[in-house]
Amino acid sequence: MKGPKVPGLIKGLGVTFRTMLEPKVTVQYPHEKEIPAPRARGVIGLQEENCTVCMLCARSCPDWCIYIEGHKEKRPPRREGGRERTVSVLDRFDIDYGLCMYCGICVEVCPFDALHWSPEFEYSEFSIADLLHDKDKLGEWDATKPEPEPYEEGAVVKAAKK
């Protein structure tokens, strides 16, 4: 081993000493909380009135974690003397967050904009079965979705896709 060149060792000590005196970066959860970005993929919310039970989201999910059941109902015609309409009504729309990969394919492929991302992330449960969120819970999550935000300069975006 060559003889010791002290400066490098002393500089290292200086770095740790300086860091000791600087403010700390710890965020003391749960007393203090960090707010994630608006686009953060925290949880998926469902806007039930838009859903037409087309099953595209359930089909395109890589994990098959969306469970959809629906039935067809007849509705009165829109105008006098018209035909009776059939609409699909959702019976069951469950997302199993124990399986969900948070990839967002379901949100993207939905043609009727019924699914939205929300940055909420505090829904840990003590039992895995409780991670299956049903239609009403997903409706609650939908209320927390953020407003569409403006884009960076130079962006030319046709539709606000989230």
Partner: protein, 394 residues
């Protein structure tokens, strides 16, 4: 368990020449037997579930045998039964520390087969995010390499500084670790307002962080004594084994796919430099990655200045069926050279994908490299090669 050296190429360098201290046995009658040490799948030094069976003579390694496969998740089989958007989500998780960079070669392969080109703004944003992933994973390397050689503090600095970059990626893509942002024909969405200014701020922090690592570790005499001359990979031998990326550049080989391979993304529109180091030891690998982090930060700043306006998605049908054909795209990922060989038969998903991952080839040099070193040096060498188990085993 000795390593079978009959099939290895002839090399000039005598591995025993790597023994740098006294070879003399003090007392021949006390010649003890060899000990087999299993640095098993669970070990803090092996970066995941790598199993190293080493035969030791005291503290010196006589032979080492890496056993991989503990983390095999069957990616190539998975891709046979998924569509392209679903695969994009899954392959994020191959090299999970720089996940955006895993998507890029696959998407480029699919775009090549479809004959679609992403608009320039999309390519710029892709490159920015790739370089941000490179910065994120290298900063973690700079920190945890210190942890492997014994200094506990740099690891925390590494994680702390990585958080800034991850927050940036989250603001743009929605996911910190798994962005899932590429789509065939472009990227999913444009950047949010204020992102460019924030990125400039974070790049300043990256430069400060690199300077801090240089002060704390690179100039530290103990660190230098632990890493100089350890694990020297000769350049031609490394290339023969398939070692790629910063490991090869640290052995003096001037090869970077971003400049020398088929042009991809926007690297040929930027003014940047490839860093090499002649020594080829662990110190060189650390030094090269430190310089590359700074270089990536400079590239990001250039790209933010040159960011063109325009759409971020080309015109593609809603249900994407990639026409028949096969192609191979390789890119310079942070861990090394990653390639995807995609065979398509016209369906919504590929027929077969072969993933050439960088760490798989990087680890193949371990039996040769670990001969004759001390046990602490095993840890240094493993840390300096910087492989990710998800990348080895896929």
């Amino acid at each position: 368990m000795t390593t079978d050296t009959s099939s290895m190429p002839e090399i000039d360098i005598d591995p025993r020449a790597l023994r740098h201290l006294a070879d003399a046995q003090v007392n021949v009658e006390l010649d003890t037997g060899d000990m087999i040490l299993n640095m098993g799948p669970q070990h803090p030094a092996t970066h995941g579930t790598l199993r190293l069976v080493v035969r030791l003579d005291g503290e010196r390694v006589l032979a080492a045998d890496p056993i991989i496969g503990y983390m095999h998740r069957g990616y190539e089989k998975l891709t046979e039964y998924r569509t392209y958007p679903q695969i994009t989500t899954l392959i994020n998780r191959i090299d999970w520390l720089s996940s955006f960079a895993n998507e890029v070669p696959f998407i480029h392969a699919a775009e090549q087969l479809m004959g679609v080109e992403a608009p320039p703004r999309a390519e710029y944003i892709r490159t920015i995010l790739t370089e941000l992933s490179r910065i994120a994973t290298f900063i973690l390397f700079l920190g945890e390499f210190g942890l492997q050689v014994g200094a506990v503090t740099p690891a925390f600095f590494g994680f702390r500084d990585r958080e800034y970059v991850l927050n940036l990626i989250e603001a743009a893509t929605g996911g910190r670790f798994h962005p899932n942002f590429n789509r065939i024909g472009g990227i999913k969405d444009d950047l949010p307002w204020g992102w460019v200014a924030e990125t400039r701020e974070v790049m300043k922090k990256v430069f400060d962080s690199c300077n801090e690592f240089e002060d704390l570790l690179l100039g530290n005499e103990i660190f230098v004594a632990r890493t100089k001359g350890i694990g020297i990979i000769p350049g031609d031998l490394g290339a023969a084994y398939g070692v790629s990326g910063s490991n090869l550049r640290a052995s003096g080989v001037d090869w970077d796919l971003r400049r020398d391979g088929k042009p991809y993304l926007v690297y040929n529109e930027l003014d940047w430099k490839v860093w090499t180091h002649p020594a080829g030891d662990s110190y060189a690998r650390y030094w090269v990655r430190l310089q590359e982090t700074r270089e990536s930060a400079r590239m990001v700043l250039q790209m933010l200045d040159q960011l063109p306006a325009g759409p971020v998605m080309a015109k593609v049908p809603r249900i994407i069926k990639v026409p028949e054909g096969e192609t191979y795209v390789q890119t310079e990922n942070p861990l090394g050279e990653m390639g995807y060989y995609v065979i398509s038969k016209g369906a919504t998903g590929p027929f077969r994908t072969k993933i050439r991952s960088a760490s798989f080839s990087n680890v193949s040099i371990l039996p040769w490299l670990l001969q004759g070193v001390y046990v602490p040096d095993i840890v240094t060498i493993l840390a300096s090669l910087y492989f990710i188990l998800g990348d080895i085993d896929r």
